[in-house]
């Protein structure tokens, strides 16, 4: 067990692009940091800010949000609706004392497995540099977050 801080990151992916990009990265045997645990949504437009807050409150150190490139949304333009929320959410997180560097938006097409993997790796390092957020464990007497030392296999 190393002493190196392993950030826990929740990633929200779009069924049509980034989820497939992650899939592609996998099938192409490209490695990306196991710190990111992905949740599939049908569209980034499904991203409810509640999910992001829940992830942080439950102990995530970072949140990755990904969607189709602007103009490429499978549902025409729903990724823009996520974009609008994302911008406002960042402002809120800043006020709550969560560094904007802990949340990242990545546009990735289904073909961009390598780019997506690269972005994940960069983001993991970025969050690692910030250190643990420890939100869930910090509340008075509330339960401690269990963070495993080594990343386990994440069911898709």
């Amino acid at each position: 067990m190393s002493d190196k801080f392993e950030p826990v990151i929740i990633g929200f992916t779009c069924n049509w692009c980034s989820y497939r990009a992650a899939d592609m990265a996998g099938t192409a045997r490209m490695k990306y940091a196991p710190n990111v645990r992905l949740i599939r949504l049908m569209c980034s437009g499904r991203l409810d800010p509640t999910f992001v807050l829940k992830a942080f409150a439950d102990g995530a150190d970072g949140v990755l949000v990904s969607g189709c490139h602007p103009g490429d949304c499978h549902y025409v333009e729903q990724n823009y609706k996520m974009l609008r929320r994302f911008h406002l959410l960042i402002r809120l997180l800043k006020q709550m004392g969560i560094e904007p560097e802990r949340i990242k938006l990545v546009w990735a097409s289904a073909a961009e497995g390598a780019i997506f993997a690269d972005e994940i790796n960069k983001f993991v390092e970025q969050v690692r540099a910030l250190g643990p957020l420890n939100w869930g464990a910090s509340k008075n007497g509330s339960e401690k977050v269990m963070v495993q030392e080594t990343a386990t296999e994440v069911p898709a």
Binding site: D48, P49, T50, V52, L53, K54, F56, A57, P70, E77, Y80, K81, L83, R84, R85, H87, L88, L89, R91, L92, Q95, M96, G97, I98, L133, W135, S138, K139, N140
Partner: protein
């Protein structure tokens, strides 16, 4: 202690403003119904309360306790636990107990900042930088004042809560309706709602009760209420002024929008909603009329205080509960 066979009733305030109590008093004649149907054992505002008597009671001997106010210090917490122990039904009464209300905005700052601010204001004469001390020795002896908790918490973050009654304060007619229901339950004419339910409010949101005309929404610019003359007939949010009505539980009768002011969200989140602020944030942001990041940012400059705007009444009860500076050492 009275033993007239009537079920026992208690009402208590913790860290609150007293508006809940006033709203109960504003039910007027309903108070008499309470008196007729209950043995009021503990209600500081209306009667001489016997706290020690409560302590001496058997567990679960109070049928109904309405608890208002948030949990700011150990004393609040202590009595919350006591009343939980003594009560069959504990209701988080009002916004403070349910979700923290305005005082929970203090959870955006840490206690040191709060104290420093209070004792360095422009009118404060404090050349020696004095701060109140939990323990302080005066010539005659030692004095104690409680230490503040780092954050304000809701009642259900401290004890198990049976029902929630939202509102700042809960509207009198809603209080009357709830009291009627409980009286009917006692008389065997009605059933209690399932544990954990929100009572004395609707299941929809304030728009449901708002008479203003609504259209499809598309916002190009957010405005502050002092900047425009609002059309009294049309949805306030459509006019660019953020109104919390769409996300706020119904039950008040849309009082503020009817009076020309935006809803500020005192009735809390709608049914089964995990986080009030993110619901409202998501809704408001979704209808911004731009796909260009720069323009979106410019439009968002019209919401200079998202935390205050979206968590005005709900910070303690939100997912994040408090800002990082509030709890970070």
């Amino acid at each position: 202690m009275t033993t007239n066979g009537k079920p026992k009733f208690a009402m208590y305030w913790a860290a609150s403003c007293g508006g809940c109590e006033i709203s109960v008093l504003n039910t007027n004649e309903k108070i008499l119904d309470v008196d007729a149907n209950f043995d009021v054992v503990f209600w500081p505002v209306a009667m001489d309360a016997k706290y020690k008597d409560v302590e001496a009671m058997e567990d679960k001997s109070i049928l109904l306790t309405l608890f208002n106010g948030g949990i700011r210090n150990d004393e609040n917490e202590h009595i919350a636990k006591l009343l939980r122990q003594k009560s069959q039904i504990l209701v988080a009464f009002g916004s403070c107990a349910s979700e923290g209300c305005v005082p929970a905005l203090a959870n955006l700052s840490n206690v040191k900042e709060i104290v420093d601010t209070a004792y360095t204001t422009i009118s404060t004469d404090n050349p020696n930088g004095i701060r109140p001390q939990p323990n302080y020795t005066v010539p005659e002896g030692e004095l104690h004042i409680p230490t503040l908790y780092p954050t304000l918490r809701t009642l259900d973050q401290v004890v198990d809560v049976d029902y929630y009654m939202p509102g700042c304060p809960p509207e009198s007619q809603q209080i009357s309706a709830v009291l009627d229901l409980v009286i009917q339950v006692i008389q065997g004419k009605a059933q209690l709602p399932p544990k954990g339910a929100v009572i004395g409010a609707g299941v929809s949101t304030v728009c449901d009760e708002c008479k203003r005309k609504r259209n499809e929404k598309s916002i190009k610019e957010f405005k502050r209420i002092q900047e425009i003359m609002l059309d009294p007939e049309i949805c306030i949010l459509e006019q660019g002024v953020i109104c919390s009505g769409p996300a706020t539980r119904s039950g008040c009768g849309a009082l503020c929008p009817t009076a020309g002011a935006p809803c500020i969200g005192c009735y809390g989140p709608a049914e089964n909603t995990l986080d009030y602020g993110s619901r409202l944030l998501s809704a408001v942001a979704s209808v911004i009329d731009s796909n260009d990041p720069k323009e979106i940012d410019k439009i968002l400059d019209g919401i200079p205080d998202p935390a205050g705007m979206f968590y005005r009444f709900n910070l303690a009860g939100s997912l994040l509960k408090a800002s990082k500076p509030a709890w970070d050492k």
